[in-house]
Amino acid sequence: MALMFMVMLSPGQAWAELVTLDLQPGLTARAEYRPGAGDKPAVLILHGFLQTHNFPTVHNLAEGLAAAGYSVLTPTLTLGVTHRRQSLPCEAIHTHSREGNMREFDAWLRWLRARGHRRVVLVGHSLGSAELLLYLQARRPSAVAHFIALSLVDTRSDFKANGLDQLRQTMQQRAARGDRQAQRHSLSFCRNFNAVPQTFASYLAITPDSLAAAARGLPIPATFIMGGGDERLGSGWIDRLRGTGKTVIVIPNASHFLDGEHEFELIDAVLSVLKQIA
């Protein structure tokens, strides 16, 4: 795997390296890497659904953590687009899947290990935290010392529980038949998620129940930092997360993006969690 480094100069900010990671021929992923102190765990922050590492919540948090001496890697999932630099619209033709994303997580964790980071804290925002949670549940990587989920959504769906299961099964069956017809579906906040059955089916696995279950069964410490004013969350979701036995931090009045005046509270909250790890 060839690595290509690019250095970006951000005045007044920590040094950020633009790194690329060739995942397969014709598909290269991009990320920013902010090296920190060697005695501290590296932090991998994953952006929300279809976003990039340039998303403000991710970017600001990375800056904050880097400023605190932590090595921070903020990858952008390719979603099947090489060198993806832009958020991928819901209406774009989506052929990616959670499985492909998990492979990219694996690749980036390997990349961190190759850079000497033995302990890694995974931080995800929004649906990105959901993907990391399910990734940890599925792969249980040893290098991950802690998982911090920011604004973990419950992926509310218009489907009823049995309807969702039936849809997921239908999509899985179509995918199994090699059906590659892209269709528009409603997924979380994407009302026109134009995806092939395989893609849609993979993301339909993210459900409140699967997330709650994954949280409960997570073998590593996990912290859920939630916005007190997050209107995207379903009713009782935070409480349900609290019911998982994991730490739940609620930043009062913070929105789903934990931005603005709550940006520093977020950083403080994450740093407090990271200090506990140290």
Partner: protein, 732 residues
């Protein structure tokens, strides 16, 4: 310069004004068109600049679109995995607005192969561009297509080219959409057909052509100029028509009416001008002209009336005798000419009046008194004539009146009334003691008239009336034709010829018998003129002589002719001869000298000079002196025609004559039965004889009359009765 009517002049002016207006309009329009052409050139340049700018904008837009597409993750997504490339190309590109719907895109692999086959081969299967050319133009029939190529890299600065995108578009439609065009007409935009070799979008500009949009302002201005031209023409036409109407109403019509009125006044100068009220005009100048014309016409009428009065006066004066106030010779001639042409008059009488012995009166009493006599005669005649009769003074003491339609009987009544009126007039109030009488001659004719002949006839009649022993009123009859000599040119010529050639004169020597022994004592030379085998008698001769005032000349001719006969020793003349001398002759020295020479030539012959008493009245002293000279030379003087004319015993008493010849009118009284007349003659004879004069009786035409004169004591006698006796004695 030819004479022009006012309307013609106006039409000429109007034509010139219209031509000037047309020239002005044409000049204005040409100037404006020149400006418009300049503006059009500017607009063409601006339109061209717009096209070039639009091409630049198209290039910029394509670059922007291409950069966006090249940097778009989804472009790389489908370039790397063309599974859903058609969906992306046909839907996503549209839905995201990454490519306008008017354009079409195709992705090509780095080796130039198209990523997926194009429906209907909208784009070629292989990259059509060559080299580094970004743009390519191809024609699909009449439709030009522009193919814009851009590379797709990982990132803009990367060398690795992931593939190419090619955008196909209709360049003309795109350029049109890049408007708005202010100058260029986008609808007319076209590419020069044929091979268009371009490398860049900017290379398109030279091949584009378009019309320039009409400048709305210029177009509007040109329309406005045209409209204003039409309005100006209509306004000019309207003004011209209005002016023509006004000119016609205010000027032409009044002038025409004024002209017609002047024409009417010319035809009928007595007509009155219609006046300002006759027609209306609001033009002050025409009103002034009208008033001036009326004043002029009034003045002209006044002058005309004055001229008419003067003319009438002159006419009357020209026809009026200045002395008497009656009509003159000119009026007589005019009236005579009119009368000749008047077909309504079927008969006419001409009366001539002549004062007897007027010359003697005039000479005796002087011209002023003669004029008084003339005026008095005119007054008398005017009073005697009928109211409508005109009295003409033909000259001297001669008057006339024409009486158209009057029969001779009526004229005679008038003539007698005139004679009586003159007779009643008291001429003594003017210092004239002798009676003033007139002789009247009348001539009558039925239509058609020859008033010249009528006048001659009246002349003859008047002369008849003048003759001693004739009534003072004479009517022309054919028997008076013998007196025609007065008016007969032939006889007048003969008299003149005889004066020049006295040998033409012939005499009938009538013996004057000595009654005591009945022996011719001498002969009286009674002259006549032979003319073309005709004899002109003494009546005609002396009428002409007296009328033409040829007395002296004729006396000299007679003396010369008598001398000829004396020299020829005519038997009748052996005892002596008596010669009638005219009154002018007795006072003429030439005549007296001729007689004295005749006396000297024939001293033994008895020469008797017979003079009329009228001769004695005029220049009495001269006459007396001459008579004295003749008597001294041995001539005898006989007073002729005693009793026929003036019979002034006072004159007779002082007359230096030797004999008195009693006129036959007096002698013939002896044949009258009235005793009174006999006694009168006897007394006169006795009185004259008692004064010592020898007595000669004329007109002895019978034996009884001879006896009576002998008995009365006449010493001499003559007459055809005595001629017969003398012839018988001669024959015996």
């Amino acid at each position: 310069m030819p004479t022009l009517k006012l309307q013609q002049l106006y039409a000429l002016f109007l034509l010139l004004a219209m031509m000037l207006l047309a020239i002005l309009v044409i000049y204005a329009r040409m100037s404006f068109q020149h400006i418009a052409q300049r503006a059009q050139d500017e607009a063409d340049r601006a339109a061209r600049a717009e096209i070039v700018r639009a091409v630049d904008n198209l290039g910029l837009r394509l670059r922007t679109i291409a950069e966006h597409l090249a940097m778009w993750d989804e472009t790389r997504q489908h370039l790397a995995n063309p599974e859903f490339y058609p969906l992306w190309r046909d839907v996503r590109v549209r839905d995201t607005g990454a490519l306008p719907t008017s354009m079409r895109i195709a992705l090509y692999r780095p080796n130039g192969e198209i990523l997926a086959r194009e429906p209907a081969a909208a784009l070629p299967a292989r990259l059509p561009h060559k080299g580094d050319a970004a743009a390519l133009l191809k024609w699909d029939g009449a439709q030009p297509w522009l193919y814009y190529r851009f590379p797709v890299r990982v990132h803009p600065d990367a060398d690795l080219i992931l593939g190419y995108g090619v955008i196909r578009l209709d360049p003309l439609a795109e350029i049109r959409n890049l408007g708005p065009f202010r100058y260029a007409d986008a609808n007319s935009l076209s590419l020069v057909p044929g091979a268009v070799q371009i490398q860049r979008i900017a290379d398109l500009a030279p091949y584009l052509q378009s019309r320039t949009q009409p400048n709305p302002i210029l177009t509007a201005a040109l329309d406005e100029v045209r409209r204003l031209s039409v309005y100006a023409a209509l306004l000019a036409l309207g003004l011209a028509l209005a002016f023509l109407y006004t000119l016609r109403q205010l000027v032409v019509r009044p002038i025409r009416r004024l002209s017609a009125e002047i024409q009417a006044l010319r035809d009928n100068p007595q007509a009155q001008a219609a006046g300002v009220a006759g027609y209306s005009t609001n033009l002050f100048e025409l009103q002034q002209l009208r008033r001036s014309f009326e004043e002029y016409h009034q003045r002209l009428q006044q002058l005309h009336q004055e001229i008419q009065r003067s003319s009438q006066q002159f006419y009357q004066q020209a026809r009026q005798d200045a002395l008497t106030g009656v009509y003159n010779r000119r009026a007589f001639d005019e009236d005579r000419g009119r009368l000749e042409k008047d077909k309504r008059v079927d008969e006419c009488t001409l009366i001539l009046f002549d004062c007897d012995h007027f010359k003697a009166i005039n000479d005796t009493y002087g011209h002023p008194l003669g004029d008084t006599i003339i005026r008095a005669l005119a007054t008398c005649l005017t009073q005697a004539l009928r109211a409508d009769d005109r009295l003409y003074r033909l000259g001297g003491d001669e008057f006339a009146t024409l009486m158209p339609g009057a029969p001779i009987e009526t004229a005679l009544v008038v003539a007698e009334r005139c004679l009586e009126q003159v007779g009643r007039y008291d001429f003594s109030q003017h210092g004239i003691t002798e009676p003033v009488t007139i002789s009247i001659g009348l001539a009558h004719s039925r239509a058609p008239f020859d008033l010249t002949t009528l006048h001659r006839h009246a002349d003859l009649a008047m002369y008849t009336a003048k003759r001693p022993g004739h009534p003072k009123i004479a009517v022309y009859e054919h028997t008076l034709g013998g007196l025609a000599s007065l008016v007969d040119n032939r006889e007048i010529s003969a008299v003149y010829e005889a004066i020049r050639q006295p040998q033409m004169l012939q005499f009938r020597y009538q013996p004057v018998m000595r009654l005591s022994d009945m022996v011719p004592d001498y002969c009286e030379a009674l002259c006549r003129i032979r003319c073309d085998d005709q004899i002109i008698g003494p009546g005609a001769i002396f009428a002409i002589v007296h009328n033409r005032r040829l007395d002296v000349e004729f006396d000299l001719a007679v003396i010369q002719a008598v001398q000829r006969d004396l020299e020829a020793d005519f038997p009748e003349l052996r005892q002596g001869v008596s010669i009638n001398l005219s009154a002018p002759g007795i006072v003429n020295d030439k005549v007296i000298d001729a007689l004295l020479r005749l006396r000297a030539a024939f001293p033994t012959h008895k020469l008797v000079m017979e003079i009329t008493e009228t001769a004695l009245i005029t220049q009495m002293e001269t006459a007396s002196a001459n008579i004295g000279r003749l008597r001294e030379a041995g001539c005898l003087i006989a007073l002729d025609d005693f009793g026929s004319g003036y019979s002034s015993l006072r004159y007779l008493a002082s007359m230096p004559v030797d004999m008195v010849k009693f006129d036959m009118s007096l002698i013939h009284l002896l044949d009258k039965p009235e005793r009174r007349l006999h006694a009168l003659v006897e007394d006169i004879v006795r009185m004259v004889a008692g004064a010592g004069y020898g007595l000669v009786a004329e007109g002895i035409e019978s034996a009884s009359l001879l006896d009576q004169v002998v008995a009365l004591g006449f010493t001499h006698g003559q007459g055809y009765h005595l001629d017969g006796l003398q012839s018988a004695a001669g024959r015996g």
